[in-house]
């Protein structure tokens, strides 16, 4: 085993596949930010790329790249842990590799079609081959089938590998969660003219992915990470994984109700959505206790400071984004005004970043550490680790800056457009033209640039961290399940 340089021999088969997923994830992360930036410029200068690359295209690429890079990160992380967790080699590594290339080529084609074809005539062909026109689920139908097929291969690899090796609590939760993940995607794969029913099922996919199955997937990845990075015992990690599943699904599944206030669905969803919205922060708050307990007992000593720092960023980001930002605007009494305004954008930026982007970045650092021969990434890094610290600071500052700018814009929009002007088109533009809103959009752009700068520094750091490092990190061998 060679240390200090990137060497595939340092990785097992699943991990070699995982780093491919991570590489594409990182590229798509940059794509997400680039197109977010274009859209942000258009808010400030509407003529920018008008009739060339319009806002709807940029915004679509912005959010779809986000969903896809996060999925790439999760799939990569699962392949990363699969061999160690199951105690055997990945059963279908060749087909897993094939699926990776199929998915990556498909994603590339979809993006090229988004950018060059953009829209089509109002018929079924457009929905099948250009774009489906439903926020987050824009991928044309042919690509939907591709995604389900690739998820099928992934599921097969996970289930078959655990079956041949050994099952564990993490393995069980992970496998069932992947069934739910693939199954829920199918809920978004049919056309309905009834827009109320259409959005009803659309939220099944979006909400139950993001606020339920993704959370549990990350829970599994984190559980494994805690055993390996901090050496926590399996029994404890798995107990807490089950506690987390109970809390996440217990609050998340019916928390779906807060999306059903205004789309034509019956008004009993006010009570269900309001109830779960009110109670949702309690598990998050309760988890603060566990974090303090763990930090106090373990003193957080480990050999991968960047990964640990990003996990801490996750704890805060998830709490603020989902807990505080969520609760501020989800009760129906206030959501009547905040629904469909920049409030949602503010919440979305912080929550997605805090809950998922941070975890994926932490995993990138774990991967680099092993890829270079399990080197020490603790204290005493070259240049005192200024690159990872700088990237951490810039990205967090950028996202928080955007979130606060959008919060101000959202407050102003809900007040002027929604409450004062009653949501007419004139009211909408009155809100958009208000100086607060305009300034907020300018600041959002500034912080978007800061975020992108941080991300570029992050990529540079990931490519160079630990070059020539010969100190080894301590290793925790997780007990068998």
């Amino acid at each position: 085993m060679r240390t200090g340089i990137i060497d595939g021999a340092n990785l097992n088969g699943g991990q070699q596949l995982a780093v491919k997923y991570f590489s594409v994830a990182l590229v798509l992360f940059l794509v997400q930010m680039l197109f977010g930036l274009l859209a942000a410029i258009q808010f400030v200068r509407p003529d920018f790329l008008y009739n060339v690359l319009d806002f709807n295209v940029n915004r679509m690429v912005h959010i779809d790249a986000m969903v896809v890079w996060m999925l790439y990160g999760f799939v990569g992380a699962v392949y990363w842990l699969l061999e160690e967790e199951s105690g055997t080699r990945v059963v279908g590594l060749a087909v897993g590799n094939l699926a990776f290339w199929v998915l990556t080529v498909a994603v590339a084609i979809v993006v090229v079609v988004y950018l060059w074809v953009q829209t089509g005539p109002g018929n079924d062909l457009t929905r099948w081959f250009v774009n489906e026109g439903r926020e987050y689920l824009e991928a044309p139908r042919w690509a939907d089938f591709g995604i389900v097929a690739v998820l099928g291969v992934f599921f097969y690899n996970v289930a078959a590998t655990f079956s041949r090796g050994r099952w564990s609590g993490i393995a069980g939760v992970l496998t069932l969660d992947l069934v739910a993940l693939a199954g829920l995607y199918c809920a978004g794969m049919f056309y309905l003219t009834n827009i109320t029913a259409d959005q009803y099922w659309w939220w099944w996919v979006i909400h139950l992915w993001v606020e339920a199955t993704w959370e549990v997937l990350v829970g599994c990845i984190m559980a494994w990470g805690l055993m390996h990075v901090l050496g926590v015992r399996r029994r404890i990690v798995e107990t807490w994984l089950y506690i987390e599943v109970a809390l996440m699904f217990g609050s998340g599944i019916l928390g779906l109700g807060h999306h059903y206030f205004w789309i034509g669905t019956p008004d009993y969803w006010f009570s269900i959505g309001g109830f779960f919205s009110a109670l949702e922060p309690i598990p998050l708050v309760a988890m603060v206790v566990h974090s303090v307990y763990d930090a106090g007992v373990r003193k957080l000593r480990n050999g991968n400071h960047p990964a640990l720092a990003w996990i801490i960023a996750h704890t805060f980001g998830n709490f603020l984004g989902a807990g505080v930002w969520g609760f501020m605007h989800t009760l129906p009494q206030i959501n009547l005004y905040t629904h469909g305004t920049q409030w949602t954008a503010s919440h979305g930026h912080l929550a997605f970043f805090g809950a998922y982007a941070t975890i994926n970045i932490a995993f990138f650092y774990i991967a680099m550490q092993t890829w270079r021969g399990n080197i020490w990434l603790g204290s005493g890094l070259a240049g005192e680790g200024w690159k990872w610290k700088g990237a951490l600071a810039l990205i967090n500052l950028g996202v928080i800056g955007m979130t606060v700018a959008l919060l101000i814009a959202g407050y102003e929009q809900s007040f002027i457009e929604r409450a004062m002007e009653g949501s007419t088109w004139r009211g909408y533009f009155a809100g958009q033209m208000h100086p607060w809103f305009q300034q907020a959009m300018a600041w959002r752009l500034v912080f978007g640039v800061v975020t992108l700068a941080g991300a570029l520094l992050l990529v540079w750091d990931l490519l160079t961290i630990g070059v020539g490092e010969t100190r080894r990190a301590p290793q925790f061998a997780a007990e068998a399940g």
């Binding site: 319009d54 269900i272 469909g340």
Partner: protein, 200 residues
């Protein structure tokens, strides 16, 4: 070796809790889904039949419900031609498909969901800035067919791009928007003064 955790803190206990909580929540969601889908079927009281586009639609405050809700008046056929339920369904369907094909949702919101670069379309049919009820259809068509020329940007500079919308698609979009404005959205948006209301 240490003592094992008590039952209420044990792995097997929480495994069962996780399974029961997940299964229970999901069963409740499935039951609610059946109920919601039956209550939001086209032709019910919340989501009107497609032929509602033959009637006049307004959106008024209901003092008993304490919220805004759609109200329906007499005949007001779209583009001057009364359609059968099937014809209306076909037209609204084409409109919905066009709205998806042109990726409207990544600038506009529909029922409040989508992007925030352009106004909400939920009650666009009822918007007072179409001038008058008489002018409305012609102005909507003109706008959809040449958004650049007919844009009303309220000096924001934000204009809808050229999307290659055909004449037939423009008619269909207007039908879809009219039908969508009839959905009972529990009072969202609130305080909306409609085109009809302005003339009262």
């Amino acid at each position: 070796m240490g003592t094992s955790p008590p039952v209420w803190a044990s792995e097997s206990f929480w495994k069962k809790v996780a399974i029961w909580v997940t299964a229970g929540s999901f069963v409740i969601l499935v039951i609610l889904t059946f109920d919601t889908l039956s209550k939001t079927a086209v032709g019910g009281s919340r989501v009107q039949s497609y032929s509602v586009i033959n009637r006049s639609i307004d959106y008024r405050f209901d003092y008993i419900l304490n919220r805004y809700r759609p109200v329906f008046g007499g005949d007001e056929p779209l583009f001057g031609r009364s359609l059968s339920e099937d014809e209306a369904a076909a037209l609204v369907t084409q409109g919905k498909k066009t709205v998806q094909a042109k990726n409207c949702m990544n600038c506009h919101t529909l029922l409040g969901n989508g992007a925030y670069y352009a106004p909400d379309l939920t009650k666009a049919w009822l918007d007072p800035d179409w001038g008058s009820v008489e002018e409305r259809e012609a102005r909507m068509l003109a706008f959809l067919l040449d958004p650049e020329k007919n844009a009303v940007t309220f000096s924001s500079g934000r204009k809808m791009p050229r999307l290659g919308i055909t004449d037939a698609e423009a008619h269909a979009i207007v039908a879809f928007l009219k039908w969508m404005s009839a959905i009972d959205t529990n009072g969202f948006p609130t305080n909306f003064k409609t085109i009809g209301h302005q003339e009262d």
